[in-house]
Symmetry: C2
Subunit: 201 residues, 2 copies
Amino acid sequence: MAPKYKLSYFDMRARGEPTRMLFAAAGIEFEDDRIPFDKWPSLKGTTPMGQLPVLEVDGVKLCQSMPIARFVARETGMAGKTNLEQAQADAFVDELIEMLPKLYGVAFATDEAKKAEMAAEFDKTMSSKLERCEKLSGSNGFLVGNSLLCCDLVLHTVAFNIENYKPGTLKGYPKLAKVMASVNANPKIAAWIAKRPDTKF
Amino acid sequence: MAPKYKLSYFDMRARGEPTRMLFAAAGIEFEDDRIPFDKWPSLKGTTPMGQLPVLEVDGVKLCQSMPIARFVARETGMAGKTNLEQAQADAFVDELIEMLPKLYGVAFATDEAKKAEMAAEFDKTMSSKLERCEKLSGSNGFLVGNSLLCCDLVLHTVAFNIENYKPGTLKGYPKLAKVMASVNANPKIAAWIAKRPDTKF
């Protein structure tokens, strides 16, 4: 029997979305358990590492967002075709995902001077990361190899936020823009994006 | 023919050591290329992501420290026996490795007041992370399952620094101390520790 999956995360894309997109791309049913922020303090102690996301697989609780995404990528054949391809995909994930907390830092800063300073620093980080990923990306619509992998969905998640933050940024990175386009063109992903809750992050 | 491995990293343990220990534990030859800090600025541009470590596998350059460690763990059968075990091991790695930059932040702080503040914050983070890992660890000398995995070597690397920073800390976490002891008792690891360069971090 196919395992039963329950992904618990906040009602946002962020660090939970690559896993949701993996399930969607593979056509695998999962319970999309979205924890309201006001319920979190009372639930925190019940999670293995005091953090979300948590993925329950037939009752076993897995934690840490990218280990969860990598697990689901392996389960669904989207980790990479060879060990080497898997390592290359994995390096993109680590490089890209680091942008999220920095971007949220800017978004949630309340002091205007501090916010401007953080934004300038983030813009610099973002450019150098996107440049590196553009240089290393394949040119046929996938970061690595010739099929949709977890890293493409991490790029999509991060770039979705970047495009909200500075519309048009991806145009400067044609290979990455092509990856975004090929993710969006995947019918199962497109159906997921159309039905997923519309959240700010 | 067995692949040829060259690991380029600074002359420190830090984010390169789990990979070196994986090679040592598996009895696999690798070139331990240690880049002097003064040579780094001229080499930075030649690395795929402008960072070290880089692992060359038969000429292919892999980057990002934990993706490299996970790759070598898969090559050497130390990633986890099942996909689920691999995810559990992986979560320990992510939880533990985050301590290193924070610990180095304290070590390299020059302003005394700032250093004390950072140390207090680090101590809190360290306790909560070690508590969580202690709770989730297996009790037979391995974090997960019943054999040496990549996560045990990451714990060893992190705990080695912690013991230098606050000797005796691990005594408060008996299951983690037992993992340290079983890593140290591995003859191939012991031989590696005896011969590796003695660096501060």
